[in-house]
């Protein structure tokens, strides 16, 4: 019987799913191009927009401006009150969200095809005629301040805040996208208006769509509603961030049943020739969830955690490698030691041929799973476009992964997994941690 299993498991095909993804590039204005996958399996359209205008450009003293603007756009626009606006969206089953990251201002539209026209009208009202009623401004401010307070009380939120403070000290990325408590009340209606007027410009706009919409239709809508954002404003740039990470352990003492551990080190740029090597390496080390090296050593063999992971993260102006784990207070030192040990092992010895083969098989063959919903496809198109890649990326992506060699992984590991340039942050009440920097 065992034979049968082996027979079945080792026939692996490299399916070329991605060539099936027919991405159209639509030049709707000057140099502006939108990407579209036309899929009429369902009468649904998903469109994602991103302007290069995130919380990273919030002015000093008004940290939280981008995010507050985004959360007020659907709180009344044109002749509609907040209540009416939300009711029209809900009654027509339109999802229209505005939110910001540190680098981007995102608009997320998800609707039935029959309501596409209405969706664009509402989107246009929100972007061009938001009411910014004082009552709504004050209400939203109250909500934001409450959530920001959590970052001094809730263990996960404390962790996220301190992590940013360590990694991004003296850079706009150090603040929560929601901003800073003291600044929230200083933000006024005119600030919100000038944020919209000055930062949402078509030169910094990316658009991606998936679903029951044709090229001509999308082009028509974009021309009608977005050409007006050709306002030639110079958007503030986020400064580059240079940070030398030292090998340190920071401790925020808190009386908890379990400690949370976060770590971070140098990352890799999307344009780096070794980007895919790093991507595959991270999958093997801590990205592959169920049997990565970290999960195998910390969870499966020793039962010390429920979750341990690593990932590569990219901001526009900074890249880093990071990860985390949660463990009982008495095991913190042990877990940090094992994590460090695994990083060093990969740096010194690389990975095995079998690990590399398995990783490639997963990363290539699982790609089809990213294509089963309009939202997933639109997100993938948007991200690829924002990475500065072309539509032919989807044909080449598997080859990039396939070409990663054992040697490449060793090379990139020696750059990223440097034990002298990784910090650990512990939130909790570890019993055995000495020589930590209190934070």
């Amino acid at each position: 019987m065992k034979k049968f299993f082996i027979f079945l498991f080792f026939i692996l095909l490299n399916f070329n799913y991605l060539s099936a993804l027919d991405v159209k590039e639509i030049n709707y204005y000057k140099d502006n191009k939108a990407w579209l996958v036309n899929d009429n399996n369902l009468p649904i359209v998903a469109i994602k927009f991103a302007f290069k205008a995130g919380s990273g450009i919030d002015p000093i003293g008004k940290k939280g401006l981008a995010s507050m603007t985004a959360s007020l756009l659907d709180e009344g626009a044109g002749n509609y009150s907040a209540k009416e606006f939300k009711k029209i969206l809900a009654d027509n089953s339109i999802t229209l969200n505005f939110n910001v990251s540190h680098d981007n201002f995102y608009i997320d539209l998800y609707t039935l095809k029959e309501n596409l026209d209405l969706s664009f009208q509402l989107l246009d009202l929100a972007l061009t005629k938001p009411t910014f009623k004082l009552e709504e401004i004050n209400r939203v401010k109250g909500n934001i301040k409450l959530v920001l307070e959590q970052s001094y009380k809730d263990p996960d939120d404390i962790g996220a805040r301190l992590f940013r403070e360590i990694l991004f000290k003296d850079h706009p990325y150090q603040y929560d996208t929601l901003g800073v408590s003291e600044d929230i009340d200083k933000i006024e209606k005119k600030d919100l208006e000038s944020f919209l007027n000055n930062n949402l410009t078509i030169e910094k706009l990316f658009v991606a769509a998936s679903g029951d919409i044709k090229e001509a239709e999308l082009k028509k809508y974009l021309k009608k509603y977005f050409v007006k954002f050709d306002n030639k404003k110079k958007v503030n740039e986020i400064p580059t961030h240079k940070k030398n990470i030292n090998s340190e352990i920071f401790l925020h003492k808190k009386d908890l049943r379990q400690s949370s551990i976060l770590f971070a080190g140098k990352g890799i740029s999307r344009n780096d020739p070794y980007f895919y090597s790093a991507y595959v390496m991270n999958y093997i080390l801590g990205g592959g969830g169920f049997f990565s090296r970290l999960t195998t050593e910390v969870r499966e063999k020793r039962g010390l955690v429920y979750s341990v992971y690593s990932y590569l993260y990219r901001y526009d102006k900074y890249n880093f490698f990071s990860g985390g784990a949660q463990t009982s207070n008495e095991n913190v030192v042990k877990v940090i030691k094992i994590i460090k040990g695994e990083l060093i092992k990969v740096k010194k010895k690389g990975v095995t041929e079998e690990e590399l083969k398995n990783a490639k098989n997963y990363l290539i063959n699982s790609y089809v799973l990213r294509l089963d919903s309009n939202n997933k496809v639109a997100s993938m198109l948007l991200n690829t476009q924002m990475d500065g890649l072309n539509t032919d990326f989807f044909e080449k992506r598997n080859d990039y992964i396939n070409s990663v060699s054992l040697e490449d992984i060793k090379k990139v590991a020696s750059r990223i997994l440097d034990e002298n340039q990784i910090f650990f942050l512990v939130i909790g009440n570890p019993t055995d941690l000495k020589n930590a920097n209190k934070i």
Partner: protein, 437 residues
């Protein structure tokens, strides 16, 4: 859940499926199979649902169902611990599992050419898991760490656990799915294995597949791999029922680990399987009353009275016997939870006079029915909705008819359930109170 799911989980109201065309069959050994064809991409969401969950656990052994879910990845006579997951991954699959009060489910998202592979793997672990004491003890600490992460370190989850135990005074739903810490610690390998042997059988399971396959293909492979597995004697679930409840209860949790006070009110109400008509009416009412951005509660507490930052209500129709209807309100800075409570009590006294708008009813029903279209926009959703419904007592017809059942709800139907929902003797009020050091 074996691992955190990095997926957005939408609250499943009972979406419907007029457009889903489920195909169904039952093998001779009792294994049910449901296929939802979706040919958009050459992939499938393959799942198996066992009709056993935390409510089936023997007294004093809470956490077995979930613990067992973890152990199904720990090897069989043919596979080494962890090998299951490695095989799925190197074939390009994503997988996970989840345990609820009523069922335990396992799923893989994978290319359609791997259907036989995942079916053979599930067939193998239906009966053949093999455990050694060391693996078992290791996984026990993993489960304990999971409990600390999800519950003990999380004041809101801790409060929900306490509320739940107060709401169900006698029904096994009072136990937390993950189990009580002291009971998890005392579980033995024998306890877990006898639970496995008792409940994991073809006649206690449903295979649900959403994706680019036909029922015919699935049945052929299912017969090959599951066909020889003998059915077990599965006893009808006889759970202790709730007695008449005579008094409101209050649970207060004070925590240093949150800055945000929360007011919660849970009412004991019937599930879909207990009272179909009332449950359908409650689903419509919940949307009108509790939608977090357009509901009546939001209007009253956030917009009109301006004493809350959020206000919403939820209803979970799945299960057997009773379930909970939940109100959740976060007060504005400076407003006490007592103020929220007294305002809510006043508001609910006149609720009958407030639910009167026919247009509102019509548009709400349309919204709910539209959800059935969105539910088809991913393989995972269809699989998850059909699996969870079928393993909590819905028939296929119930699921398919959901849209038309929703359309039939009248204002009278809603009026008639209001006094049944808001019966304070069947309620638990939960308060989460931040405290400084």
């Amino acid at each position: 859940m074996r691992f955190f799911l990095f997926l957005i989980i939408i609250l499943f109201s009972k979406f419907a499926f007029a457009e889903f065309k489920p195909q169904h069959t039952i093998l001779e050994n009792g294994l049910e199979i449901v296929v939802l064809e979706n040919n958009r991409v050459p992939a499938i969401a393959h799942s198996i649902w066992y009709k056993v969950g935390s409510a089936d656990e023997p007294n004093g052994k809470s956490g077995i169902a979930h613990f067992l879910e973890h152990l199904l990845f720990k090897g069989t006579e043919k596979l080494k611990p962890g090998e299951f997951s490695q095989i799925v991954a190197r074939n390009g699959g994503k997988e996970n599992a989840f345990t609820s009060k009523n069922y335990t489910g396992y799923f893989q998202l994978i290319h359609k050419s791997k259907l036989e592979l995942v079916m053979s793997l599930e067939a193998d672990r239906m009966k053949n898991i093999k455990l050694i004491e060391k693996e078992f003890e290791n996984e026990k600490t993993v489960v304990l760490e999971e409990r600390y992460s999800r519950v003990d370190n999380n004041p809101s989850a801790l409060l929900s656990e306490q509320i739940n135990t107060a709401l169900f005074m006698n029904h096994p739903y009072r136990k937390p799915i993950i189990g009580w810490e002291h009971e998890i610690k005392n579980l033995s390998l024998k306890d877990v294995m006898s639970f496995y042997e008792k409940y994991y059988a073809p006649n206690n399971a449903i295979i649900v597949i959403c994706g680019d396959v036909t029922l015919e293909e699935v049945v052929k492979i299912a017969k090959k791999h599951f066909g020889s597995i003998k059915p077990s004697k599965i006893e009808k679930r006889l759970w202790t029922e709730e007695p008449t409840q005579h008094a409101p209860r209050v649970v207060i949790l004070k925590s240093k680990n949150t800055a945000i006070p929360v007011f919660k009110r849970h009412y004991l109400v019937p599930t879909y399987t207990k009272s179909k008509k009332e449950s359908i009416a409650m689903q419509v009412f919940t949307e009108i009353f509790g939608n977090p951005s357009t509901g009546m509660l939001f209007d009253e507490f956030v917009k009109n009275k301006k004493i809350a930052t959020s206000a919403a209500a939820y209803y979970y129709p799945d299960g057997f016997g009773d379930t909970s209807f939940t109100i959740s309100i976060v007060p504005k800075k400076g407003i006490t939870l007592n103020k929220i409570e007294s305002e809510l009590n006043i508001y609910l006294k006149e609720i009958k006079e407030k639910v009167v708008n026919k247009d509102e009813l019509k548009s709400t029903k349309k919204r709910l029915v539209n959800e059935t279209i969105f539910a088809q926009d991913s393989l995972y959703m269809g699989m998850r909705i059909f699996g969870s419904s079928l393993s909590t007592g819905y028939s296929l017809k119930d699921i398919i008819d959901w849209s038309s059942d929703i359309q039939k709800v009248s204002l009278d139907d809603i009026q008639n359930i209001l006094s049944k929902i808001f019966d304070s003797n069947k309620s638990v009020t939960g308060l989460l109170l931040p405290i400084d050091k």
